[in-house]
Amino acid sequence: MEHKKINLTLKIWRQHGPKTPGSFVAYKVAVSPDSSFLEMLDDINNDLESKSLEPIAFESDCREGICGTCGLVINGQPHGPIPRIATCQLHMRNFKEGDTIYIEPFRAKAFPIIKDLMTDRSAMDRIMEAGGFISVNTGSVPDGNAIPIAKEIASESMDAAQCIGCGACVAACKNASAMLFVSAKVSQFALLPQGMPERYQRVETMVKVMDEYGFGSCSNTYACEAECPKGISVKNIARMNREYFMAKIKSTNVKV
């Protein structure tokens, strides 16, 4: 069922490349309230292409809020006004006739702009590569039921593990801190028996690389949790701080 379209003014950030200056460009659109936010952008792009104009570069993939590819700042909020969803899950029924919407890329020192609304978030992968894993080779592992894990522990680990790696926490933070992202991975593994052997080395190496890439410190504003599409809790940051402190006492693995 198609509902009556709503008329909107979009102010979209256009920037040709990383080094060129960008600015907001206004677009007038009429859009179905059943349409998703990104379908609206698809439609604008189709219209631009039909006029041989360059489409707005933005990224998305699964459109189900799980791949973490999309990420726009909408009216100043990463992933827009509705809590606990990614940009791709935002639907236009949440906007009113006549609204003006500002659309920008995630902004953080560690996320340079590539073009228009596209940013380079690869620094997050560098942190993961540094230590966000459990060192087991394919093959020689025990039976899946060999080590029982309490239901609530598995569930708490899953709460942290569902981070989609979108970077909204970084974009929301005034310090552009990646603490929520990093702590989610540290917590997932620190809670599980499988993650115990490397727990101290893991947190040290991940924090070290996090700092190298220019992510800021945490100053406890909790903006990250508020904007996280998966509602990852700041408790994970507390847990990471605890892990880090213990690591400093117990481990001599990483020179900082």
């Binding site: 069922m1 198609e2 179905s32 349409s35 990104l38 379908e39 698809d42 439609d43 792009n45 189709n46 292409e49 039909s50 104009l53 360059e54 489409p55 570069a57 993939d61 699964c62 459109r63 189900e64 799980i66 791949c67 973490g68 969803i85 899950q89 639907h91 029924r93 590539i114 073009k115 596209m118 380079d120 690869s122 992968d125 993961m128 590569e129 966000g132 894993f133 459990i134 080779n137 394919t138 093959g139 592992v141 039976d143 899946g144 039921n145 029982p148 894990i149 309490a150 239901k151 598995a154 569930s155 680990s157 899953m158 593990a161 569902q162 989609i164 790696g165 997932q188 599980l192 499988q194």
Partner: protein
């Protein structure tokens, strides 16, 4: 004519893989570092293969078109992963998982491959647990299971409604560890545009750097494609926006046979289409069918709200038609039953949709149990539709979801181009004409963790460690061809947008090569697709530059391939004069409207050999069933 040799090892079904593993040649550990392997795609199959090969000591170059390896579409798989653990003591076994998969695939898959899949399934669960995948657990701390379509046992392991995400992140972390150790080099934002074949053997790939626009060349001793399926040929599907067939299609054009292209899966539980401007369809996990009941009104054009329709006026059609499996009937059967109800004018409030109702389950178990099991799926539903599924039933409709067809591979997962291996959804091997729920994750990880790491060693042991360099004449030739195609796409400057043409192709595919197919429609589809392809190359408007980020160019090149593949899908469907699994030819059905197989004439894999654009030659790999008796599939 290609000679199709499936290289299935001799011996008893249960012993084939074990004896094959023993008989295969090994590469000396010290020599492994002399071999380079390219892995294209970093989803479940690609990332698990890259990680495992890195662990073994090979030099791996992994490629993804995403900005990060963690974004592959495997991440969207919701419901779970099958394994024959029999933790529930409900009669499961390797043989039963094998049997269910062969039967679920409507007897159009290779027995030996499916048996191996079932055999290695248990190791996958162990592996993932060890990687820190937080699977759902019982109160006693042991792993929990649930049921999926096409099975009467509970063998599906899950991590809430995000199993694909957790398994992919497991493989991603395993690969990250190898990146850290220097054994895997990851190339992000690279789209593979061709495979380079030197003296008949795959020796490398040509990719476009999606940031700079450079066409880059990479060589290796073997190439693995793990680039997923081609459901986006329908334009609207549950595949991610960027899923595409380009890697396998370009390989097909270089000589890799394409098998069973018409075997596509239409998933019964997706959100209905909301309008013309829709870009993508959203899946609602099949796991919902554990507790949800599917129904439509018994009355045609019933516009009442679902909660106003009394129990006796509801038709729980799956429970009625298939009492044994009921709401857990396989996907192809459930999708067709939904289409039947809607074609009969009994769609939900006159729409192309049926109801998926949780009221009984909520009354029986309490809302908190349903919330715990499916909370995130219910949230997704409400976010997208604005309706609360705890209060009134979901509306769902079938949508293209998975493609069982893909590049033909032998038992070793090698294509008809020596040195070119294909893993995961990109190959055709294990699901026959219909895939069972929770089997895609199983197959992707089986291929990547446990099959290719063995079989590629056997191949490399017979290869010399000398590497063909990427400045070899053949690499330059392929690079030039790719650059020429890019230039051509950008120079057409016609009137139609890329999406406009893709949508038109999608409509042809959905209407004529979709859930119900017939000779007349398929013949029309072929004519229409050929004409649309011609129009594309005359009148498409691909804007922007080649040496820049250009998403329009990326899409344009992918659509060019769909316009060829779409025709082959229709041709394959036209050639297969029977109904089996997801391939339902309206001419071939039983009086009750069930798929009517023709085992006498069609117990084979169609492996299409590319001759020229729009021209193919059909090769057949006969399928033999020695352990499972060919039988009419019944879920009644």
């Amino acid at each position: 004519m290609i000679k199709l040799d499936a290289k299935v090892p001799a011996g008893k079904l249960e012993e084939k893989w074990t004896s094959h593993k023993f008989n295969m040649k090994l590469v000396n550990p010290a020599n492994k570092r002399k071999y380079d392997v390219i892995v294209v795609g970093t989803g479940l199959a690609g990332a698990s293969a890259a990680a495992s090969l890195g662990e073994l000591g090979y030099n791996v170059k992994a490629f993804t078109f995403h900005d990060s390896a963690r974004r592959a579409h495997s991440i969207s798989a919701q419901g779970g992963i099958n394994a024959a653990k029999n933790y529930q003591n409900d009669g499961d076994s390797v043989y039963r998982l094998f049997f269910d998969t062969v039967k679920g695939g409507d007897f159009r898959s290779r027995e030996s491959n499916v048996y191996r899949l079932a055999e290695v399934s248990n190791g996958i669960i162990d592996q993932c647990v060890a990687q820190g995948v937080p699977f759902a657990r019982e109160y006693g701390g042991l792993l929990d299971n649930r049921s999926f379509g096409g099975a009467l046992v509970s063998r599906t392991f899950y991590a809430r409604g995000q199993t694909g995400q957790q398994l992919l992140l497991g493989a991603y972390t395993a690969m990250n560890r190898q990146i850290n150790l220097g054994k895997v080099k990851l190339y992000t934002r690279r789209e593979m545009l061709d495979v380079v074949v030197v003296d008949g053997v795959a020796k490398g790939i040509v990719v476009r750097n999606m940031i700079t626009g450079e066409i880059e060349k990479y060589s290796a001793h073997a190439v693995i494609l793990a680039t997923g399926g081609y459901a986006n040929a329908y334009f609207l599907s549950t595949s991610a926006m960027n899923c595409n067939a380009t890697a396998i299609w370009r390989a097909h054009k270089r000589g890799a046979a394409f098998a069973n292209p018409c075997f596509t899966q239409i998933h019964p539980t997706c959100l209905p289409v909301h309008g013309e401007n829709q870009s993508k369809l959203t899946l609602m996990s099949e796991s919902l069918r554990n507790d949800g009941r599917i129904w439509v009104s018994k009355i045609k054009k019933d516009m009442r709200k679902p909660n106003d329709i009394p129990e006796e006026e509801r038709d729980y059609y799956l429970e009625r038609k298939y009492p044994t499996y009921g709401n857990l009937s396989p996907r192809d059967i459930s999708s067709r039953a939904a289409k039947e109800a809607i074609d009969d004018g009994r769609g939900a409030q006159g729409q192309d949709a049926v109801y998926l109702d949780f009221q009984d389950a909520i009354n029986r178990l309490g809302q908190h149990v349903i919330e715990e099991r499916y909370g995130n799926l219910f949230e997704i539903y409400e976010t997208i539709t604005g309706d609360n599924p705890y209060k009134s039933p979901m509306k769902i409709y079938p949508a293209p979801h998975y493609t069982m067809g893909g590049l033909w591979v032998d038992y070793n997962l090698m294509s008809t181009i020596p040195g070119l291996f294909v893993a995961g959804e990109a190959n055709f091997s294990d699901h026959g004409a219909n895939r069972l729920g929770a089997s895609a994750l199983m197959q992707g990880l089986a291929d990547g963790y446990f099959v290719i790491p063995y079989t590629i060693g056997n191949y490399l042991a017979g290869d010399k460690p000398t590497l063909v360099k990427a400045d070899h004449a053949e690499f330059n030739k392929v690079q030039k061809e790719v650059e020429d195609m890019t230039t051509k796409l950008l120079s057409i400057k016609g009137k139609r947008t890329v999406d406009d043409i893709h949508k038109q192709l999608g409509r042809i595919m959905w209407n004529k090569v979709g859930m119900g197919r017939n000779e007349k429609g398929l013949k029309e589809a072929i004519v229409e697709i050929k004409a649309l392809r011609e129009e594309f190359w005359k009148d498409v408007n691909v804007v922007g530059d080649s040496k820049d980020v250009n998403q329009c160019l990326e899409r344009g090149a992918r659509i060019a391939d769909y316009l060829e593949l779409g025709e082959l899908m229709a041709l394959d469907a036209l050639t297969r004069n029977e109904s089996c699994g997801g391939h339902f030819r309206e001419e071939y059905q039983t009086p009750e409207g069930e798929a009517l197989r023709n085992d006498e004439d069609y117990t084979f894999v169609s492996a299409w050999e590319f001759k020229d654009v729009g021209k193919w030659e059909l090769n057949k790999e006969p399928l033999e069933f020695t352990s499972v008796k060919l039988a009419t599939r019944s879920y009644k």
